[in-house]
């Protein structure tokens, strides 16, 4: 089967197959979305009306502005919370450090909308704290709107900053800090002229993650945003169209979101490429004991932050065991909520596990193959694959939902409403992350291993499976567990794609919260949280460390 130009070996076939998959499930939907934004809903004629409408009406423009305001504020607050935390945890001996680290990771891994939901349980209109204070005659400011979202997002996302910056601080050699001191520079000045600049590239990467996460999140504004309109909710309501929306206008707004995130992404990439530098540390920084008032304040800060991050989680678990009557909480405890979950929502639990497992398997296989192509078979075709594979970074979850629906709601690819479309969306959501970690792992495996297998008579495909893939697997597997955790908690895209039969747990929780049946929502959220924590513990065991930077 030899052609004049192309040798049809194993890897050529893989390249072609992956290109085809990308064309169908990534490029085609994105192009559909883009084109759809230029069509008139009624007539289907090409038009700029959608964009004209968006930029002429204050109602829409303000949502974009609000999204920016919120996202920038959240990013700044997350940095202000996360950087000092990372600094203290790395430079000082903190009591209970091991447990604290796990708490921060748990609060990072649990989904945003459950955070929003639990803050509603605490500070919402009928929230525990609100009611308690009302009994004492104190009226809390409303948790709904900008303030509440800022609170929820900042508390949810600062652990990203913390994790990334801690990782960077670990790479600083003490000698750099000592060099500054030997040159006469100590204290805060040293922190700002040496330590901070060294972690800035990492901080920027983490800030981008926070920015994208906040910009794209649908669940939190949907639950707690109320009058404060932001883009994801606007796109959703326009698309789902209970109030006479238009899919084409939604597509137009989704395109605008993609342009925003793509721009931010490119700026960050440019910055990292020009400003980053390699660091390796022979002697990492050793945490010092800290005493007195300084030590007390540092501990106070860390414990308060940890408590504020974890109390909402506990609140959800607590709520799941409260007795309810006709969806209203009454005194006492019961397993009523769980009974209800198991009689009505078992399907969603099954769906979650099934879809996510299927997605993870696909992600791992694709991730390893694409990483191999991009690292070991560099040519212009694999470069294209590598670039396209990064697209999902810039497609917000809610936009992805719409994108797939627009593309696959007519024959021959009538996938809307199917389990397959749910799985595809999950795969696309995480593929880029797994690919990146797979490539990093592959760079550390010498090509000569595989060459040895081939020299001993193995075929290229078998030598990949038997040697390289096997060596990659442990690293890829621990990355996959992290992907698994984010997938079971995925809401933004699933909420657009689900039907009654393909509901996942996070969608079910969202539905229950919207219907104000807080008991079952809490029970489901508890099951989800426990799955998350167990998966995390498995991850710690498998990877042998607590590095969950993704």
């Amino acid at each position: 089967m030899t052609n004049k130009k192309i040798r049809w070996d194993f890897w050529t076939i893989v390249t072609v197959v992956i290109l085809a998959l990308f064309a169908i499930f990534l490029l085609y939907p994105l192009i559909s979305l883009f084109l759809s934004g230029f069509k008139d809903t009624e007539t289907g004629i090409w038009t700029m009306d959608n964009y004209a409408r968006f930029f002429s009406k204050k109602y829409y423009k303000s949502a974009l502005l609000n999204s920016f305001k919120l996202t920038i504020s959240v990013t700044l607050v997350a940095i202000l919370l996360g950087v000092p935390l990372a600094y203290f945890m790395s430079f000082y001996k903190i009591k209970g450090k091991g447990i604290l680290e796990i708490l921060f990771i748990i609060s990072m891994m649990s989904p945003n909308f459950i955070g929003a939901y639990s803050w509603i349980l605490l500070l919402g209109r009928s929230g525990t704290v609100t009611q308690f204070l009302k009994g004492m005659g104190i009226h809390m400011p409303s948790i709904y709107g900008f303030g509440g979202m800022l609170l929820v997002f900042a508390l949810k996302l600062y652990p990203f900053i913390y994790m990334y910056v801690s990782g960077a601080l670990k790479k600083i050699d003490v000698a750099l800090s000592e060099a500054a001191e030997s040159l006469g520079c100590g204290g805060l000045r040293k922190v700002f002229t040496v330590i901070m600049p060294l972690v800035t590239p990492t901080l920027i990467a983490a800030a981008l993650l926070v920015f994208m996460n906040c910009m794209a999140d649908f669940g939190t504004p949907a639950l707690i945003g109320e009058g404060y309109r932001v883009m994801p909710t606007l796109v959703y309501s326009e698309f789902v169209g209970e109030t006479g929306g238009s899919a084409n206008f939604a597509a137009c707004m989704a395109t605008i979101m993609v342009v925003v995130t793509a721009t931010i992404f490119l700026i960050q990439k440019w910055y990292v490429n020009t400003k980053s530098f390699a660091m390796s540390s022979m002697r990492p920084i050793q945490p010092k004991a800290v005493h007195g008032i300084k030590g007390f304040l540092i501990h106070l800060y860390i414990y308060l932050l940890a408590a504020t991050s974890i109390i909402p989680q506990c609140m959800v678990i607590y709520t799941s065991f409260r007795a309810t009557k006709m969806q209203v909480f009454v005194d006492g405890f019961s397993l009523e909520s769980y009974r209800k979950v198991f009689s009505t929502a078992v399907q969603s639990i099954k769906n979650t596990y099934l879809y996510c497992l299927a997605a993870i398997v696909i992600i791992i296989v694709l991730g390893m193959l694409i990483a191999y192509l991009a690292v070991r078979r560099k040519n212009w075709l694999t470069n294209i694959i590598d670039t396209i594979a990064m697209f999902p970074y810039i497609v917000p979850g809610s936009v992805l939902g719409i994108t797939l629906l627009i593309a696959f709601n007519h024959p021959p690819m009538m996938l809307a409403g199917s389990a397959i479309i749910m799985i595809i969306s999950l795969v696309i959501r995480r593929q880029a992350y797994t690919l990146r970690s797979s490539s990093a792992i592959l760079y550390q495996i010498s090509p000569s291993m595989e060459e040895a297998a081939i020299s001993l008579g193995d075929s290229p495909s078998m030598s990949f499976v038997k040697v390289t893939a096997k060596m990659m697997l442990p690293g890829v597997a621990s990355g996959a567990i992290l992907s698994w955790i984010t997938l079971i908690n995925e809401l933004s895209s699933s909420v657009m794609l689900y039907t009654a039969g393909t509901r996942t747990m996070s969608v079910a929780i969202y539905n229950e919260v919207i219907r104000a049946s807080y008991g079952t929502a809490a029970a489901l959220a508890t099951i989800l949280t426990i799955t998350t924590v167990v998966s995390l513990l498995i991850f710690f065991k498998v990877s042998g460390n607590k590095d969950v930077t993704m």
Partner: protein, 373 residues
Amino acid sequence: MSVSIGIGNVVKKYGDLTIIPDLSAYIKNGEFFTLLGPSGCGKTTLLRMIAGFNSIEGGTIKFDEEVINDIPAQKRNIGMVFQSYAIFPHLTVRQNVEYGLKIRKVPKDKMKDRIDEILKVVKIDEYQDRLPERLSGGQQQRVALARAIVIHPQVLLMDEPLSNLDAKLRIEMRSAIRDVQKQVGITTVYVTHDQEEALAISDRIAVMKQGIIQQIGSPQDIYARPYNAFVSTFIGHSNLFFGTIKKQGDVPTVVFSNGYQVSMPNLVDTVTEGQKAVISVRPEEFSLNEEGLECEIISRTFLGKYTNYFLRFPDGMVLDNQPSIEYSQDLGHVDRIFGVGEKIRLRPNPNKINVFTEDLERSLIKDVKKYDE
């Protein structure tokens, strides 16, 4: 301004572990002083005490007359060159060198002159706008040196600065460091475990073992007149023989255990008749001689300028546990190279060889000082 460093009875402990029990030394203003010793003997520990990165558990360290024990590192006005260079990766070469001057609020124009000058001295002015990542090891080394010197520190401290370089570059940088140090005239404390490097670069060397200084002296003295057997075997190679002192007649002699005698007019007066001793002979202090000590060649290594023979002496003549007994044959004036298994006769040069007490702790040669000022 450069200062002298007075180290008085300092103690270093990590918990219950004493690394430096009681160490004193005086480092003269402007001299190049090297701490030399096997890995783990406490050189880095001592250097970091001078720098201020290690606490001092006892004794004092003075810069001139000022006790600096409690002055934090950033106030000591030291220049330090780290083993890993510790160049700030986020700053360009020039910004790295500038860093300490900015802290000292040196006026702009003066700062520029000083940086330009030092970049020229260490020969990196053409790379000044590069990020350190894109420099070779030797260039990074020069940046580290420039950064430490440009602030006009009172002392310059260097911890194995050449250990990450390849052999050729090491020798090149060795002379570069030496030249720059002399040009600037700054008191320098240099740490290394490489004796050849120490001999080549230093004004004086302190040989350390297990936190204790064994000898301080010029490279020549340390090599030719080691204070004890540790120094004589650690610096260069020395073959150790059992011996006895004979004091009859005008001139004392040392007697090898096979009866071979060497007269040694330079032994101290305190030696006694019949005193047991250890005779230390370097491989190049042997010469072929019909009347010499008989030994057998067990292997040989050809090294270009000379040939190194590994020898076996009759039982009981040499101390146990020596890695090898060696003779270097200078190939510049040689009749023939010997083969393995051949027996030869070697005569130790009485003017060169050293004699130690039986416990190996002290030299029995006149005027050999432990601490040479």
